[in-house]
Symmetry: C2
Subunit: 130 residues, 2 copies
């Protein structure tokens, strides 16, 4: 229970850490926007782009981009799937929603006093899908 709660806070912190680096945040933003509905996008499927595209314009070495994307992936914020030579990345909408829910619970003025509920949003279980 309390142990569980601990794990939730750790997960939450891990997500924030993944977004805490400007380069990574930029990658994440690009992923979210570059392929959103209505935008022309190299990949037809919504919210998806390959590693190379995401890293463009950041002025970083390929290995560094790869490292950053791995961080986002490990935090559960994005999913990766091989497609030929490329590896497609897409936002994990669930994780994003949960993260957003945590902040929205208060910030926006909606029901506070609900830590029990708010921190029990189960962030992506670290053991599956990676």
């Amino acid at each position: 229970m309390s142990n569980n709660r601990n794990k939730e806070v750790e997960n939450l912190a891990a997500c924030f850490k993944a977004l805490s680096n400007p380069h990574r945040l930029r990658i994440f933003i690009k992923l979210i926007t570059c392929c959103s509905p209505g935008t022309s996008c190299p990949v037809k499927d919504g919210m998806s782009a390959c590693v190379g595209e995401l890293g463009k314009d950041l002025g970083l070495a390929a290995s560094t981009i790869s490292h950053h994307i791995k961080e986002l992936h490990t935090a559960g914020l994005l999913r990766m799937e091989r497609s030929g030579q490329r590896i497609e990345c897409r936002v994990d909408v669930d994780a994003l929603r949960k993260l957003s829910g945590f902040l929205a619970g208060w910030g926006i003025g909606i029901s506070p006093a609900t830590l029990d509920h708010a921190t029990s949003i189960e962030l992506k279980d670290q053991t599956n899908g990676r």
Copy 2:
């Protein structure tokens, strides 16, 4: 413009960084909940607690707590005000709302394709109030 956009991403990243450490996140959560309406709280004023209270139960040295709270403060997530011997901390609801707004824009499924708007939420200007 683009320079401005850069600064916004930096600010956003700085906020995430402040919340990326489990100890700091715990402090932040405590601050948000311990004194929310309806809860009995050492400080009557909603969402406020002194440095010492926030750091309790974390098993950290006072200097470390101080350091963490300073980080949260620098990121603009909380305000501090001297009150006698104590220093009262309260969440900066504006910053929280903006942070939350950034994630909520997508995550929750509300209008995507609005990066222009979403990243132009002006996060607290680093130069005032600290």
